[in-house]
Amino acid sequence: MFNSLLPNVQWDTIWAATVETLYMTGIAVVATFVLGIILGLLLFLTSKGNIWENRLANAIIAAFVNIFRSIPFIILIILLIPFTKLVVGTILGANAALPALIIGAAPFYARMVEIALREIDKGVIEAAKAMGATTATIIWKVLLPESLPALVSGITVTAIALVGYTAMAGVVGAGGLGNLAYLEGFQRNHNDVTFVATVLILVIVFVIQFIGDFVTSKIDKR
């Protein structure tokens, strides 16, 4: 039935592209989550009045985050080509997109992590200190659990941005639905392929948003 309406759509290609998009997004989200939390924690802990207060370290991390957050993603991919070649060995395929995706998204997420950590009541951190907690305990048992809903809603927003990034990465040869829509859909003028790719990307975004909202509401006991 679909096939008459969508004459140019080859479902196995579409499926392969979807898997590629999910693969790129999935790996990038996990890596961004970890890297972003580390960067966000460093930003927070080195800021004024906090446990590792250090103006120089804070300024360096903030500069790094700001620079990589400001570069438009499509330009970042191109700038990172030598780096990607060095790390992945190629600049084509889904794996080649990962360095750019992660380096593009982690600083963005790091800022959200920092904001989430700032929202934590200072008194709770003080109470943990008064109980004799180590910094590691404060990070694992106070900072992360107390900011978890904001961390999750932040990673949801970031994951959706990452889906968009994978489409852009697709244009320069990374594969996935973006690649398919560009090569099959745009360049060969197969609008039905573009349409299907778009719908699938929308579905992925909606699912991510739904999961994010659901998890946030489950863990938020405030």
């Binding site: 008064a130 109980m131 004799g132 048992k141 107390e146 863990i219």
Partner: protein
């Protein structure tokens, strides 16, 4: 238990330095409830934070349970802190943990094994009377219940000292009283030394053994609570004492009476402990040619005994009134002749 020696805390800010605590020396005995009262900005908050090293003194020594908190850091400071419990005005509970998990937190920090932890948490829940609320989250509790969790949490590692940072200031009067009762109960049951800071004289009156009054970073007056109530020396102390014993309308009544009766005297009588039980007024009218008119009276219960204030108007010839006042002075009752109202 706690000794402060010449403790000074100076904060550096962009517009100069601020001396929050100015050369304070203090000794707090084991097992007593010691109150520090002052208005906001008096430095009491900085002072109590130095007792567990949340703030470091600029100068001086802070000795708590034989450790100089001012000098230690790292592991030693963390261990010292496990012996000093603290409760806060805004409770500072972790919203992500249940009552039980919140109370278990300091035990996790101290590395208590899980089985013992569960047992200890149950004991503490009994102690503070939170049975049935073990699995509630802080957002589901009332202010008083939250503070009970805070107290249980502070007591988890069997501390030697409990610090109370305005612990009842965010609670309504009734809840305040129930939390204060709990603190007294804990103090007596566990022989725990309690240091509290507050701006409410009511709290001092109700539970403290001794009190220190702070103003501009200095301790301007200290002593047994009953003694301070009987003979406040500094203006600020008198103001705090008035908070509890003298309702606002007293001043108006007295001003009115001084105007109305140019003859005789308005007198403030202060009774402490047993003196409150003598039939003083009856004796006065029987032995002297005076009329006694009772204007206002109030008895306050302190931790150490009762304390009463009575305002009377004594009328008669100057000679008889003077004799009557002399008589009262001999009865170990505080007398103050009020000639005008400030």
């Amino acid at each position: 238990m706690i000794t402060l020696e010449n403790v000074t805390k100076i904060y550096q800010s962009s517009n100069g330095s601020v001396t929050a605590v100015d050369d304070v020396s203090l000794h707090i005995k084991e097992g007593e409830i010691f109150g520090i009262i002052g208005y906001s900005g008096a430095g009491k908050s900085s002072l109590i934070r130095m007792l567990n090293g949340l703030e470091k003194p600029t100068k001086g020594n802070v000795i708590v349970a034989d450790r100089n908190i001012a000098n230690i850091k790292g592991k030693e400071l963390r261990e010292a802190r496990q012996e000093i419990g603290m409760i806060f005005q805004h409770f500072n509970l972790l919203w992500s943990r249940t009552v039980r998990e919140n109370i278990a937190f300091p035990l996790e920090i101290a590395g208590v094994p899980k089985e013992q932890r569960l047992k200890r948490v149950d004991e503490l829940i009994q102690l503070v009377g939170l049975q049935g609320r073990e699995n509630a989250y802080p957002s589901q509790l009332s202010g008083g219940q939250k503070q009970r969790v805070g107290i249980a949490r502070a007591l988890a590692n069997n501390p030697k000292v409990l610090l109370c940072d305005e612990a009842t200031s965010a609670l309504d009067p009734q809840t305040t009283d129930s939390i204060l009762d709990l603190l007294v109960d804990i103090n007596q049951r566990l022989r725990l030394t309690i240091v509290l800071i507050t701006h409410e004289m009511h709290v001092i009156r109700k539970i403290c053994d001794r009190v220190a009054v702070m103003e501009n970073g200095k301790i301007v007056e200290q002593g047994e609570v009953l003694q301070v109530f009987r003979q406040p020396k500094q203006t600020i102390t008198k103001r705090f004492v008035q908070q509890v014993i003298e309702p606002e309308e007293t001043k108006e009544t007295i001003a009115h009476l001084i105007d109305k009766y140019p003859r005789g005297n308005v007198i403030q009588l202060t009774f402490v402990g047993e003196a409150a039980e003598q039939p003083l007024i009856a004796n006065l009218t029987r032995q002297f040619q005076v009329n006694v008119n009772i204007l206002q009276g109030k008895i306050s219960q302190t931790h150490q005994g009762s304390y009463g204030v009575l305002f009377v108007h004594i009328d008669g010839t100057d000679e008889e009134v003077a004799k009557a006042i002399d008589y009262i002075r001999q009865q170990q009752v505080g007398v103050e002749v009020i000639t005008d109202v400030q």
